[in-house]
Symmetry: C2
């Protein structure tokens, strides 16, 4: 469908964005925005189940958004790059302006609620 090199680059970028594209993962990124936290702290703050949080942390890690660091029996997570936080802020700015459109979207083929235009 797309030439190979391009497709590879797009898949990579899509993967990065997929890290951001789930409310649970955004909740995790949010609490990691300005500080490092252990898994237990993250679980407490986000109220995700331990297993769920661990899965999402694995995903975020694999997507390159966070890094882990073993500290004694704790594992401490932090954003892997300050620009991750920038992207979050930028998305909030954009949302503030285009939110109305986003409210309509419930799923991929947002047929039922799709706005009539624009």
């Amino acid at each position: 469908m797309l030439i190979q090199a391009q497709a590879q680059a797009l898949a990579l970028k899509a993967k990065l964005f997929r890290g951001f594209s789930d409310p649970s993962r955004l909740a995790i990124l949010d609490v990691l925005r300005d500080k490092q936290l252990t898994v237990t702290e993250i679980v407490t703050l986000t109220r995700l189940s331990q297993s769920n949080a661990s899965n999402h942390l694995g995903c975020l890690r694999d997507c390159g958004l966070v890094r882990k660091e073993q500290q004694g029996r704790y594992v401490r997570y932090r954003l892997s790059d300050p620009r991750i936080a920038t992207m979050l802020s930028l998305s909030e700015e954009v949302l503030a302006d285009v939110a109305k459109g986003v409210y309509q979207c419930t799923r991929y083929e947002c047929t039922e609620k799709r706005a009539t235009d624009s």
Copy 2:
């Protein structure tokens, strides 16, 4: 799991990012980066099927990333905000630095290929 207002905000933000989180949609956003295009032009440039492109355009529209404008019998699409392009650029910068980690990630529970740490 999260309090209602927070959950709403996170879901909204997740939806915005979900617009970016698919290679076909990124291909579309890419060709719209600096110009407005009709659906046919988009289909030609991205080599997506017409129906697939239309679905993705609907999704992008509902996520607030693009806007459509009817022009005669054509529909012209453009990015809904210049900061959308900024987010794309920013993601490319981040990727350039953390790409190695992302290469490992094939899906949510990227078990098979998960790097041993970091």
